[in-house]
């Protein structure tokens, strides 16, 4: 790992990007607002933006089986930043993009990272995108992450997004928008757990504009303690298309969850489905695992781990 990374930052990188060493392939590591390491490859070029904070990632058409890691760590209290990262993904490429942001805040001031990611996915390109958020530190300062994600998908492209936020982020306001051309396919898997007095808002606006486009947006979440979550998913079908959104939540303690499903069909060929379920852990699930020898707390942990897997 590069010398500019200290021990705390190293651990956070492991949490958000499974990074134990310098990643293979292209990468850009941002630590406390500055670049702490970057590598471009023959097919993937990373350059700094001029006039704004952030980077451009250009992936050449036909690039196969390559990956890009762009983790962000904040370990200084009181740091607030807004970063714009733009991904230009060439036609027919097949790549994995791992993002993620970890905040370590032991101070009394809020630390905040607002990452705006824009994806321009070329024709027939395939992208797998993984984004993990993590916060830690026992200071009074809050850890705030407000990710904005915009996805523009050309014909026949596909994108799988895995977004995970399990621990330590005090406040999140996430907005994800996507526009799909014909035969484009978007799959979103969101995993979210909030605790303490955290608040998490997740908004999706997906427009299915081309014939044969499909989107599947699935959120599984757990709200514990006094935390609050809002899941607001809107699918708009502007052509013959398939859209499915699902919000499946476990509520515990004094947690609160608001699910706002919205479907808008502007074409008779649009087939849109929404499912939402909120409930506490079923008593019989606890009973079953306790009859296998687990304590109630262990049973609860197993059920939640499985649910959020």
């Amino acid at each position: 790992m590069t010398e500019m990374i200290d021990q705390i930052q190293k651990r956070i990188l492991e949490e958000v990007a499974d990074l134990h060493a310098v990643p293979e392939g292209a990468y850009n590591i941002r630590a406390n607002g500055e670049s702490a390491g970057r590598r471009s490859t023959a097919n993937i070029e990373i350059t700094s933006k001029t006039g704004a904070s952030g980077i451009d990632i250009r992936i050449k058409p036909g690039t196969k089986n390559e990956s890009v890691h762009i983790p962000v760590v904040l370990s200084e209290t009181g740091l607030k930043e807004t970063v714009y990262n733009d991904f230009f993904i060439g036609e027919d490429s097949d790549v994995v993009i791992v993002a993620g942001c970890g905040i370590h805040n032991c101070g009394s001031q809020d630390s905040q990272h607002d990452g705006i990611h824009r994806f321009y996915v070329g024709k027939n390109a395939k992208v797998r995108y993984v984004e993990k958020h993590y916060g830690e530190g026992d200071g009074a300062g809050r850890r705030i992450l407000n990710p904005g994600t915009e996805v523009y998908m050309e014909a026949g492209s596909s994108m799988e997004m895995e977004m995970v936020q399990i621990k330590g982020v005090d406040s999140t306001d996430r907005v994800t928008t996507a526009e799909l051309a014909e035969d484009a396919r978007l799959v979103v898997k969101e995993r979210l757990m909030t605790h303490g007095s955290q608040s998490a808002v997740s908004v999706y606006k997906v427009s299915l504009n081309g014939a044969g486009a499909s989107a599947d947006v699935v959120s599984r979440s757990v709200a514990r303690d006094d935390s609050f979550q809002k899941f607001d998913a809107c699918l708009t079908g502007n052509a013959p298309c398939h859209g499915h959104t699902e919000c499946d939540s476990i509520i515990m303690d004094r947690g609160r969850i608001l699910a706002v499903p919205q479907l808008e069909a502007n074409d008779t060929g649009a087939e849109l489905i929404h499912e939402a379920a909120i409930g506490k852990i079923a008593g019989e699930q606890l009973v079953k695992l306790m009859t296998l020898g687990l304590t109630e707390a262990e049973a609860e942990a197993q059920i939640i781990n499985g649910f959020l897997k």
Partner: protein
């Protein structure tokens, strides 16, 4: 091994208490295969739940190997060596069959070891171990997985609540073989099964009839079974299938 002394279980209903179990006393020695039968609504499942700790009796005492376990919870009883297979198996999102078997065994299991338990309940293991125990499994598949978790635990006392329910396609012979294997592999183990199935009753050492919250008959199979043949307490397989439609 297991002793119930004057167990009662009452629930509050409109206008007063209703007795589900009324002064039930019962002693199960080691190394026995005991079947409890009797009419629906007679208190059989409640009795199983009281033994497993899922329901707390409103009166009486439960002893396991001489130890008073009346005040122990489900987990404590499970750890002492009591297993309980639910009549209606539970579904879990995200927990796989192999995860459940590992929890049951209380240790890491290899895929091969997990497969062994599944094949004993007639499931082609490779197709199942990595599947989630969720709504994609049929009632019959869940029921067999439920039985496999009891095999993986290998405790001295195993209580099964209507193990044959929902496993029509699996031959009763296989289920009976599972019980016979269990008795052989766990020395001194006792198996308590709630069932109306004549084939299961016919391999019992002892039969107990529970009706209206009381034990109305208890004795060796040779004595009790002939009295039950032809009644709803001892149904032949085809009658059961007809009744379920």
């Amino acid at each position: 091994m297991l002793e119930l002394k004057n167990i009662s279980y009452e629930v509050d209903d409109e206008g007063g208490h209703v007795g589900i179990l009324k002064d039930v006393s019962l002693a199960l020695p080691s190394d026995r295969f005991v079947v409890i039968t009797g009419p629906n609504g007679g208190g059989k499942s409640t009795l199983a739940k009281v033994i497993a700790g899922v329901k707390k009796p409103t009166g009486g005492q439960i002893l396991f190997d001489g130890q008073d376990i009346t005040g122990l919870n489900i987990t404590e009883r499970a750890r002492l060596g009591i297993s309980y297979a639910l009549q209606q198996p539970v579904r879990f999102k995200g927990i796989r069959v192999i995860d459940l078997l590992r929890i049951a065994a209380g240790q890491e299991l290899t895929a091969a070891q997990s497969c062994e338990y599944l094949s004993r309940v007639g499931l082609c293991a490779r197709d199942y171990i990595h599947r989630e125990v969720n709504a994609s499994l049929s009632g019959g598949e869940l029921k067999r997985i439920e039985i496999a978790t009891i095999l993986a635990r290998g405790t001295r006392l195993s209580v099964f609540d209507e193990p044959e329910a929902g496993i029509d396609l699996w031959s009763f012979q296989s289920l009976i073989r599972v019980f016979e294997d269990m008795r052989k592999s766990i020395a001194g183990s006792t198996i308590l099964v709630i069932s109306h199935q004549e084939r299961i009753l016919s391999i019992a050492d002892e039969i107990i009839v529970v009706a209206d919250g009381r034990i109305t008959r208890q004795g060796p199979r040779e004595e009790v079974l002939p009295e039950l043949i032809g009644t709803p307490s001892a149904m032949a397989g085809c009658e059961m299938l007809q009744e379920r439609g």
